[in-house]
């Protein structure tokens, strides 16, 4: 999987520039000085965060840079926290003392702004007077299909690289007789209503986006007790080109699109030069009526792996040449790791236990490549792989079986025995059949190949390492892992 170099997500997204344009229009109408859009605007003051050992509660997290994160506390207040290179908390303070009935999601906007969502509104907060406190909060979106009938936001917001803000909506019946469907929608600055980019038969409870556009969604199906559904879908491009015209109100106080473009030039666009996004939008003509992609369950997280606890939050972590997904299960304090793999048009991959945290983790954010910060009721916790623990580090397909990677050399006397493992092939219908395997230990002692007949498509291989201690006698952190195969490579 291609991994983009990490950039400052605050200023380089085209969406954010367009957002600034829109806000400039509105702020002028309301006599609010645009956020640093004028050359004469004073530079933003640095706010010194006092060192502290007391930690805030954390319900949502968004990395600002390698050592700074915005967060939402349990009271719905926004804060900012500073961390050491090892992600130990140095200090924190409120970024806004207003409380929001917000969902557990936070996304960063331009010029130190923050986006959050409640059931009925997507909101963006700004520090217009650059005093280190959010002072202006704009309702970006309050209307969407079914809003008047009780459809609410259930997850988000997320900013994507195409200039959109993504969030999920609760199920609604859009056509008479049709089953209710949830949706993931994208709002582009200038549009009155968001556009639906994906629909789902199951409600969406959390979403995450990788740097190269893979959208992960947790789907809720409370009646199913054996596992939890995760959807992996590549984010589709915008269906309609973004508009720069504010939807309302109209009048002499609201600059025309042309004057907005002038503001855009101030904001950093070179006159006459389109961004890649704009060029793409200009070239692309809107398709007639493209069918909406469905967020179908891609992977099933076995409940035995989470100790029955439902995943509540997810985030991507980008390592060399690959992006993995981490899911936190606060009730069991388990962090599950998913390594997505695309075969054909389908996403499949491996699922294993990443670590067990000292406290329930309610929020996570990748601070720098491979380094994830978690948060919960008792503060912040780096999500380490817990190098000291002995665990299954990876599981991948090979032509003749499954390859298990361990964090430490295995005890060869046990690991070589077929009876030390139990492997099942579970079909889509739920029927499970045992798989005969032959373990082969690689020279490094940390890799075990479970040779087996080629499994059929649409199969989940569930592996239980019943008795595979490390060479030093350590017990596995979790003996279970699984690999979902939708189709052969």
């Amino acid at each position: 999987m291609k991994v983009f170099p990490r950039t400052s997500s605050l200023v380089e997204l085209p969406m954010l520039q367009r957002t600034s344009l829109l806000l400039g229009c509105w702020f002028s109408a309301f006599l609010i000085p645009p956020v640093r859009s004028q050359p004469s605007a004073p530079p933003r003051e640095f706010v010194q965060i006092t060192a502290s050992e007391t930690a805030p509660s954390v319900a949502a997290l968004a990395a600002y840079d390698d050592s700074t994160a915005m967060f939402l506390n349990a009271s719905g207040q926004i804060g900012v926290a500073k961390f050491s290179p090892g992600l130990s908390l140095i200090g924190w303070q409120h970024y806004s003392k207003a409380s929001f009935d917000a969902l557990p999601g936070l996304s960063l906007g331009p010029e130190f702004s923050v986006m959050l969502a409640s059931a009925g509104e997507l909101t963006q907060g700004f520090d217009t007077d650059t005093d280190g406190q959010l002072d202006t909060f704009q309702a970006l979106v309050r209307d969407w299909p079914g809003a008047k009938e009780g459809v609410t936001i259930t997850a988000g917001p997320l900013a994507d690289s195409r200039g959109r803000v993504l969030f999920a909506l609760s199920p609604a019946t859009m056509e008479q007789g049709a089953p209710p469907q949830a949706a993931i929608v994208a709002w582009t600055p200038g549009q009155k209503e968001p556009e639906t980019i994906m629909s789902s038969n199951l409600p969406v409870t959390a979403i995450a986006l990788s740097q190269d556009g893979l959208l992960a969604a947790l789907l809720s199906f409370p009646d199913y007790k054996d596992g939890f559904f995760l959807s992996l879908t590549e984010l589709p491009p915008p269906l309609t080109p973004p508009s720069t015209t504010p939807s309302a109100p109209t009048g002499e106080n609201v600059p025309s699109p042309s004057s907005a473009a002038t503001d855009g030039e101030k904001a950093g666009h070179e006159p006459g030069k389109k961004t890649n996004e704009e060029a793409t939008s200009a070239k692309a003509s809107p398709p007639a009526s493209p069918p909406l992609p469905m967020t179908l369950p891609s992977l099933l997280i076995p409940s035995e792996m989470t100790k029955g606890a439902a995943p509540r939050h997810l985030t991507f972590v980008h390592e060399v040449n690959e992006a993995k997904l981490l899911l936190s299960c606060p009730e069991s304090q388990m962090i599950i790791e998913v390594a997505p793999e695309k075969v054909g048009e389908l996403w499949q991959g491996s699922i294993l236990v990443h670590t067990i945290t000292p406290e329930p983790i309610l929020a996570m954010s990748e601070m720098k490549p491979g380094k994830v910060l978690g948060g919960g009721a008792k503060g912040f916790f780096p999500i380490d792989e817990n190098i000291a623990s002995y665990r299954i580090r990876s599981i991948r397909r090979a032509t003749d079986g499954l390859v298990l990677g361990f964090t430490e050399p295995v005890d060869r006397s046990f690991a070589i025995l077929p009876e030390s493992y139990a492997v099942e092939a579970v079909s889509l219908t739920g029927a499970a059949s045992p798989v005969v395997i032959e373990p082969v230990i690689e020279y490094d002692g940390r890799t075990v190949i479970l040779k087996m007949p080629p499994p059929s498509s649409e199969t989940v291989l569930r592996v239980l390492c019943r008795n595979v201690p490390s060479a030093t006698g350590a017990k596995l952190l979790s003996s279970a892992c699984s690999y979902t195969i939708h189709q052969d490579k």
């Binding site: 609010i32 805030p56 003392k97 009935d101 005093d131 202006t136």
Partner: protein, 258 residues
């Protein structure tokens, strides 16, 4: 209530934290009219007499007026909870001010013990708290809104109001919305535990602004501009860009003897 559960940032009131600068007052060029307007009109924003907190919550539907209820009915026509409303309160006041972004108006002033808030998604919303020890013993009665939007009879105030957002400056909330062609900022705070101030800023008003006062409360209202007659405040266009309404919250009525 919120003040009891909100977390205090370390050093938030200490001297080690760099104090935030005041609203900028210098280096504004004469051509920068937007900034100048802002500074001029911003002059009323000094620290409020009473410390206020602002929170957004979901509140049990307490509305009875049919005009107000219209926007808060479910598909079956039953009242539904009020999501995302603004609650303004002070530890030293026994009341809460409720402002609704759906209808862009103050829904009422309720006693803290009356307002019932439901759980927020990120955490447990604090339950309605009993008045603090410092609060006055006489609980103000509910001031509930009724009828059409207060600015509805003003020229240009057509259609449903559209909420834009809010500001929080110097501890005071200001709500931004449009109603028809009127662009409105409505700042609200408490001068003292029983004195409610609504400060309106209307962008370039071309006609007189008419404000419908809450039914039965016109005797308790004074305004910085205009005249009050039969429950209606009429502010001349020349003064309508900025005016304030002060409402004396009445002491609790004595319940009739059985």
């Amino acid at each position: 209530m919120e003040g009891q559960t909100q977390e205090t940032a370390p050093g938030a009131s200490g001297s080690q934290t760099t104090p935030p600068p005041a609203v900028p007052t210098a280096e504004v060029t004469s051509s920068d009219t937007v900034e100048q307007d802002f500074l001029k009109i911003d002059s009323f924003l000094t620290d409020p007499p009473l410390p206020l907190s602002l929170s957004r919550k979901t509140c049990e539907n307490f509305l009875t007026d049919k005009d107000l209820l219209q926007a808060h009915l479910d598909t079956g026509g039953s009242p539904r909870p009020l999501p995302g409303i603004f609650v303004i309160e002070s530890p030293s006041a026994a009341c809460q001010i409720i402002w609704d972004p759906q209808t862009c108006r103050m829904l009422g002033v309720l006693s803290k013990s009356e307002a019932r808030m439901t759980t927020s998604p990120v955490g447990k919303a604090p339950a309605a708290a009993a008045p603090s020890a410092a609060a006055p013993s006489a609980t103000p009665p509910p001031l509930t809104a009724s009828g059409p939007h207060p600015l509805r009879r003003s020229t240009g105030a057509y259609g449903d109001p559209v909420y834009f957002g809010f500001r929080w400056l110097h501890g005071r909330p200001g709500f931004l919305y449009t109603i028809g062609s009127l662009i409105v900022e409505e700042w609200i705070w408490l001068e003292d535990p029983t004195l409610l101030r609504q400060h309106f800023r209307i962008r370039s008003p071309e006609s007189d602004v008419i404000v419908l006062l809450p039914t039965g409360w016109s005797d308790e209202v004074t305004a910085t501009a205009g005249t009050i007659k039969e429950g209606v405040l009429t502010v001349p266009a020349a003064n309508a860009a900025e005016f304030a309404i002060t409402t004396r919250l009445k002491p609790a009525p004595v319940p009739p003897a059985p």
